[in-house]
């Protein structure tokens, strides 16, 4: 078992007019990484590089201990879930299995049927008849039926209702009971990650702004609030400062907290607040 589920080192890539620059982060095997950032930040481009679907201009990528691009057989161990299905609309769910089974050495038909049953999906239904939540479950059923060790989820929860999002978290929790299973979960809905992410990588404008354990990231920042006259000339850099007639709110590095003056209210931020504030800071 490889110690690292995935690693990107100094990756530069171009997709149209968009550029990834010096993207570096890694996920140890057995953990969940939340890959967060606003729309258009570079999450999908990074994932395409990771899966070998986009060739980087520079840098190194490792997936389950092997360099990418490599023998595509490596993808036997990777399950991919996107915010939309990539199957023929007119396939029935039985057709999905028939089409994909020949490509995977460890495909388990019994497990596929059992997962569909567990997710409440009728095998006779067509792909185009599925709701957003059902489509996401179908892709997870496919990923789990070929015994993937790494799940790569790209915005799987966008457009899902809270119940379906909660179900996904439950499914991922079950997947992670095996020691060698890992998850990269790209999303801009950070509340999905509060419960399950062990690591968080934050990307903006094609550059990684922060990558660490979730707890370290939460400890690294504090949310400060003050009156309208506070923090007018702060002694430490503020991120995403929002000033209204009644006061000011901003994110500050915990290490810089002692440099700030005034009657400030200091709180531990949520992941969502960190992403919003850092995402807005330029």
């Amino acid at each position: 078992m490889s110690k690292t589920a995935l690693a990107l080192r100094h990756v530069d890539a171009t997709r149209g007019t968009f550029h990834l620059r010096d993207v570096t982060f890694d996920l140890p095997t057995g953990y969940v990484m939340g890959f967060v950032g606003p729309n258009g930040a570079g999450k999908t481009t990074t994932i395409r590089c990771l899966l070998g679907m986009l060739r980087p201009d520079a840098g190194e990528i490792e997936l389950l201990g092997r360099r990418v691009p490599t023998d595509p057989d490596l993808l036997q161990d990777v399950g991919v879930v996107l915010d939309h299905t990539f199957f023929v609309d007119d396939w029935r769910l039985t057709d999905v299995e028939r089409a994909l089974r020949p490509f995977y050495g460890r495909w388990d038909s019994t497990r596929y049927r059992s997962l569909l049953d567990g997710f409440g999906l009728d095998p006779a239904h067509k792909v185009k008849e599925l709701s957003r939540g059902q489509s996401m479950k179908l892709m997870i059923a496919v990923a789990l039926s070929h015994d993937a060790r790494l799940l790569v989820l790209d915005e799987p929860t966008s457009g899902l209702d809270p119940v379906a999002r909660d179900e996904l978290v439950g499914i991922l929790g079950e997947f992670l009971t095996a020691d060698d299973h890992s998850v990269l979960f790209s999303t801009h809905i950070t509340t999905d990650l509060e419960r399950i992410a062990d690591y968080v990588t934050f990307i903006r404008d094609g550059q990684v702004m922060a990558s660490s354990t979730k707890d370290d990231l939460l400890d690294a920042y504090r949310l400060v609030r003050g009156g309208p006259d506070d923090l007018l000339d702060p002694a430490a850099p503020l991120a995403g400062a929002r000033r209204t007639s009644t006061g000011v709110e901003a994110l500050v590095r915990t290490a810089d907290l002692s440099r700030l003056e005034g009657n400030l209210l200091v709180e531990a931020p949520t992941l969502d607040q960190i992403v919003v504030k850092l995402g807005g800071a330029r």
């Binding site: 899966l51 070998g52 679907m53 060739r55 993808l75 299905t85 990539f86 199957f87 057709d95 490509f103």
Partner: protein, 212 residues
Amino acid sequence: MNAVARMTQLDLRTVRPYRTQVVILLILTPLLAALWRQPTVAPVMVMVMSVFVAAYPFAIAEKNDLDTLYGVLPIRRRALVAGRYWFAMVLVVIAAVVGTLIGFAMGAAMGLPFGCVELGYLLVAAFVIVGVLVSVQFPLYFALGYTRARLVTFLPIFAVMAVVILAMDVLPKDSITLPSPAVLVAIAVVGTVALLVASVAISARLDARRVR
């Protein structure tokens, strides 16, 4: 099963939901031969029509984002490209068999002759037409995608036809000595296969350029 065969099978499964349209196309087309009272033309017509069906996977893939599916499958893109050509060849063989059976039945029902030698030459001619069409059209589909390519896929065919017609007018007919029919058939088959092989190589490069 090797990777190319798996991709061919995936293409067959991709068009399977639309089999009713395909069957109607395969059955209705030779009926035109009945109107001409030429049953031996039936297999040629079905084979040429099969080229339209051979483009279905491109259209369906574009509509359903199957490029992403191909990207996450544990398979090389080159296998996808080769698999699609084999898919076209499988269709051509099916079309030849179906067309021949319909032609035989039509000939028997209408009391018209259905010469086996003539049929053989026509099948080879149809294979050449299909081979040229596939060899020209598929690289365009791989390079541009179905929607953009379909606007231009027939332009090279018209260009080739125009050159042939002009050449026939210009060349002195008496001075051309044709080889025996058997040699002509061999040249046609080998030439078409060579064209297809070259087309696969070009498509693989163009596909890699489009996807990466």
